[in-house]
């Protein structure tokens, strides 16, 4: 690993001198030294990647006490022996210059001083107790990216404190999808890509928003002749494995699905038996779909009516081995005002195809279940009774949003309204990854207490009163997790690099002790881990040796839907009860106003970046800079009209922001869309790499909350693009 070590030759020369001093017999030529150093013994230690949510199993190859490289674990179903660019580069986070090396206290804007752990714990505990006394636990929140260890420790501490507001990243990721599926099919089913004959991807990009297994799966499906339709305003690299790219006007996927349902019903292509047995509300649904003809949808989506018919017939004729892929952030997990209804329609169209539980259709997972800590021996804190400060589950606010997800991007606004007073953030960078950074920074700073626990500096950490530094993934052992039909666990590959950083369990237990709540943490991480794997017949030593251990897959369960009616809700009673349309209806996106000279600003991942943390990796940032990958994509014909040429510096403007960036003029995008890759535009001044490089779509988007599922509507923005003076 390159990071901050001597250039190799210098390092070896220095070592040679030292060795020469040890004994005359040790004097070797430089070449001999080189060979000796290269031939140093290598140990392979199992770990899990932490650069994206796939959490691939990897072997960390350690040489001379340092991480040398990583390779993929073959038994891990996400990596299957491979790793992506992020994985190869990301493990060196241990050595990055952006590490937070001490507990820090903010004493001014962008001004921090290192403090001791004891001082950090004591001051945080005192301030939190003041908030609890003056405002109660309903004004305390915790936001994180849920991973095995933090999902156990932090919520337990929050429950002990009495706060019910636990939030994940999903409201800036996939809340619309998850809420829609919860109320329509009782949970998410996933496309059986290996066996499907005809699959429609709506924006979802398996080769750039990737895991090694998703990219491999798409390549393999294409190679064997599966019909793969990719509907996306942009010809993404996923289109390399597409039978057809169907460009669509941004934010109109709902209209396409409404028309597909209309055709499946009017042309009798749907599965009547499945609908009769497993669905409720077909009559209302049928009535609702009647108006959505392919001609109507063509005008909305800019897809020819015949193409829409061909898609519907392709799905209908190949059922049940046909499906609409389940989606993620794309096309609409948190992007447009009509996101929740759009994903309801994905579930409904799949229901019309009768593909649930069928080979080549949509399948529910059936993962082995981990155990948990003995509650008698180690009593858990009582479930908090306090109301949530993000309105989730509260009638009149966000009754349908899931308590496990919450509305993370809303908290700074709530802080400004006085509805939140103390917040804890663990490894999630909301201030950069959610819309309207100025408001987010202002809001977080308005809290009485704001604590960030992270490995590296971030825009969110810059807002914190206190920062608690965690050690990096390579330096720690974590709690186990299930992946496919296997158990996997990160183990420590190297010693702690910065002595004042700690693994999370120690940090949470330390904080709990200073709050007088140590009784809820009277165990070690190993106790928790052992209890988790025990029912599966796996030991921690197995995991330390093999990284990933296969276990018996649970027997297949008969088809069932965990909704209120125990059926697929084509007509959703809960939506009706809360004043939302119970059968999906067309709602234009706010950004439908994009016209001849303006664009809907869309964003999406590149295969070598995850969010903003990647662009601050020296290797990944160098890739982007070498190929100019930060550029804004606009359609060639429209660029010509605007007098913009490839490589020009342009000014992108919305009512909220103006930013400059270079442009990529391309035939690979719908004229109404301008695409900016996600994960650029960092502004935390303490970061050494990637700061001020590229722009973020979030700068242009107002802070808003979609009413049904509570997502951030991150593509609801129209921008103008004009040539900027150099």
């Amino acid at each position: 690993m390159w990071a901050p070590k001597f250039p190799r030759r210098t390092f070896l020369k220095a070592t040679a001198v030292t060795a020469a001093a040890v004994g005359a017999g040790d004097i070797l030529s430089f070449g001999d030294w080189l060979r000796k150093a290269d031939a140093a013994p290598v140990t392979k230690i199992p770990s899990l990647c932490e650069t994206c949510s796939a959490a691939c199993g990897m072997w960390v190859h350690v040489k001379n006490g340092r991480i040398w490289k990583v390779t993929g674990q073959k038994d891990h179903s996400q990596s299957r022996g491979q790793l992506c660019a992020r994985g190869h580069a990301g493990i060196a986070m241990a050595y990055h210059k952006d590490r937070i090396t001490h507990p820090m206290k903010r004493i001014g804007d962008n001004d921090f001083v290192p403090i001791s752990w004891d001082q950090a714990y004591s001051e945080i505990a005192a301030k939190l107790q003041t908030v609890l006394k003056e405002h109660g636990p309903e004004k305390v929140f915790f936001s994180h990216n849920p991973r095995p260890t933090n999902s156990f420790y932090w919520p337990r501490l929050m429950a002990a404190v009495g706060s019910a507001t636990i939030q994940s990243h999903h409201s800036i990721c996939s809340t619309a999808r998850d809420v829609a599926y919860k109320w329509t099919t009782g949970g998410m089913a996933t496309a059986d890509l290996g066996k499907t004959k005809y699959i429609v991807f709506l924006g979802r990009n398996y080769v750039e928003g990737l895991s090694p297994s998703s990219a491999a799966g798409m390549a393999a499906a294409y190679a064997k002749g599966t019909t793969i339709i990719v509907v996306d305003p942009r010809h993404s690299n996923a289109c390399l494995f597409a039978s057809e790219w169907v460009p669509i006007r941004p934010g109109t996927d709902l209209a396409l699905l409404l028309a597909v349902a209309n055709i499946l019903i009017t042309e009798n292509l749907y599965d009547k038996e499945f609908v009769a047995e497993w669905c409720v509300g077909f009559d209302e649904f049928k009535k609702g779909m009647a108006a959505y003809t392919p001609e109507w949808a063509s005008a909305v989506t800019d897809i020819p009516a015949d193409t829409i018919r061909a898609i519907a017939r392709g799905l209908g004729n190949n059922r049940p081995a046909s499906c609409i892929e389940q989606g993620y952030k794309a096309p609409n997990g948190c992007n447009y005002a009509n996101g929740t209804q759009m994903f309801r329609m994905v579930a409904c169209v799949n229901a019309l195809l009768g593909n649930y539980g069928q080979d080549g259709g949509m399948k529910f997972g059936n993962a082995p279940r981990l155990g948990s800590l003995d509650a008698k021996q180690y009593p858990a804190p009582p479930k908090p009774k306090a109301a949530r400060c993000d309105g989730v589950g509260i009638k009149g606010e966000y009754p349908l949003c899931q308590a496990s997800q919450g509305i993370v991007h809303m908290m700074p606004q709530r802080a400004l309204e006085g509805k939140a007073k103390a917040g804890f953030l663990y490894r999630i960078n909301v201030a950069r990854n959610a819309p309207d950074p100025a408001l987010l920074v202002k809001g977080y700073k308005a809290l009485d207490l704001f604590v960030v626990c992270d490995v590296k500096w971030s825009e969110s950490a810059m807002c914190a009163h206190y920062i608690l530094p965690e050690c990096s993934p390579a330096e720690r052992e974590d709690l186990p997790a299930v992946v496919g039909a296997a158990v996997t666990m990160r183990t420590a590959a190297i010693d702690i690099v910065h002595s004042e950083t700690k693994p999370l369990p120690e940090i949470v237990a330390g904080l709990a002790a200073h709050l007088g709540l140590e009784k809820y943490f009277a165990f070690s991480r190993e106790d928790v881990a052992a209890a988790m794997v025990k029912p599966l017949g796996v030991t921690l030593d197995d995991l330390r040796a093999k990284g990933t251990v296969k276990v018996k897959a649970p027997a297949a369960k008969p088809l069932s839907f965990a909704t209120q009616s125990k059926k697929i809700e084509l007509y959703c009673q809960a939506f009706a009860d809360n004043g939302f349309p119970p059968v999906p209806v067309w709602e234009p996106p706010y950004s439908a106003a994009a016209g001849k000279d303006s664009f809907v600003l869309i964003h999406g991942k590149q295969g070598f970046l995850s969010h903003t943390t990647s662009i601050s990796d020296p290797y990944l940032c160098a890739i982007a800079k070498r190929y100019g990958l930060e550029r804004l994509w606009i359609n060639a014909a429209k660029a010509k009209k605007l007098g913009i040429r490839d490589g020009d510096l342009v000014e992108v403007a919305s009512p909220q922001a103006k930013r400059r960036v270079r442009v990529k003029v391309t035939e690979r995008i719908h004229p109404d869309a301008a695409y900016i890759p996600a994960g650029y535009g960092r502004f935390a001044p303490f970061l050494k790499t990637g700061v001020g490089y590229g722009i973020s779509a979030n700068d242009f988007v107002p802070a808003r909350v979609e009413p049904i599922s509570g997502h951030a509507m991150m593509m609801e923005v129209v921008v103008t693009v004009r040539k900027a003076g150099e």
């Binding site: 690993m1 390159w2 250039p7 190799r8 030759r9 210098t10 430089f30 070449g31 080189l34 290269d38 040398w68 490289k69 990583v70 390779t71 993929g72 022996g81 491979q82 790793l83 992506c84 660019a85 994985g87 190869h88 580069a89 080769v207 750039e208 990737l210 090694p212 990219a215 491999a216 798409m218 390549a219 190679a223 010809h235 690299n237 996923a238 289109c239 390399l240 494995f241 790219w245 460009p247 295969g607 070598f608 020296p618 290797y619 990944l620 940032c621 160098a622 890739i623 070498r626 190929y627 359609n635 060639a636 014909a637 391309t666 035939e667 690979r668 995008i669 719908h670 004229p671």
Partner: protein, 177 residues
């Protein structure tokens, strides 16, 4: 002696850069030194468009232009027919960098030497695949022996051709395009 070779199926490459970074780590290179680089091309007009992206690296040419220009014989053909660089003899003049029509060599400023793909011979010697082959997410790369082709490598060999036969360097790295 085996004649090692690699086949790259450009139709399967998605431009994820995994091979490039795996190679950098395997060879302990800094962020700005790459032994694998990418070229891409867009074709057609909206909405009927095509796109291809493919990795380039040392093509291990049988008539390697980098070898005769080397004043110290650091750039040489080895017993396996591969084009290798002996770092101890390299004086960093970079004539080979200029001579390579594939722009596949990089100058390591720290060490004052030139480096290029060595097909991970240390891994191959240990019975493993080169790092770029092992990590390729879509299995767009195949490694094998031209004198004894086996498995997928043998199957793909019939379809594989030099990327730029017009350069006349007779590469051992072959492409499916």
């Amino acid at each position: 002696m085996p004649r090692y070779a690699m086949i790259i199926d450009a139709k399967k490459c998605v431009g994820c850069y995994a091979c490039q970074v795996a190679c950098q780590m395997q060879n302990e290179l800094g962020p700005d030194n790459v032994l694998i680089r990418f070229e891409d091309r867009e074709t057609g007009q909206y909405p009927k468009v095509g796109y291809v992206i493919a990795p380039l690296q040392c093509q291990h040419c049988q008539e390697a232009p980098c070898v005769p220009v080397c004043p110290t014989t650091a750039s040489h053909k080895d017993v396996n027919g591969l084009t290798m660089i002996d770092k101890e003899r390299c004086m960093g003049c970079r004539r080979c960098v200029a001579a390579c029509p594939y722009n596949a060599r990089t100058y390591l400023a720290d060490e004052g030497v030139v480096q290029a793909c060595n097909l991970c011979l240390s891994l191959v010697g240990a019975g493993e695949e080169p790092a770029c082959v092992a990590t390729c997410l879509t299995k767009a790369r195949y490694f094998g022996d031209l004198d004894d082709p086996k498995g997928e490598f043998a199957k793909q060999l019939a379809k594989a051709k030099p990327l730029r036969p017009d350069f006349g360097t007779k590469p051992t790295l072959l492409y499916i395009i």
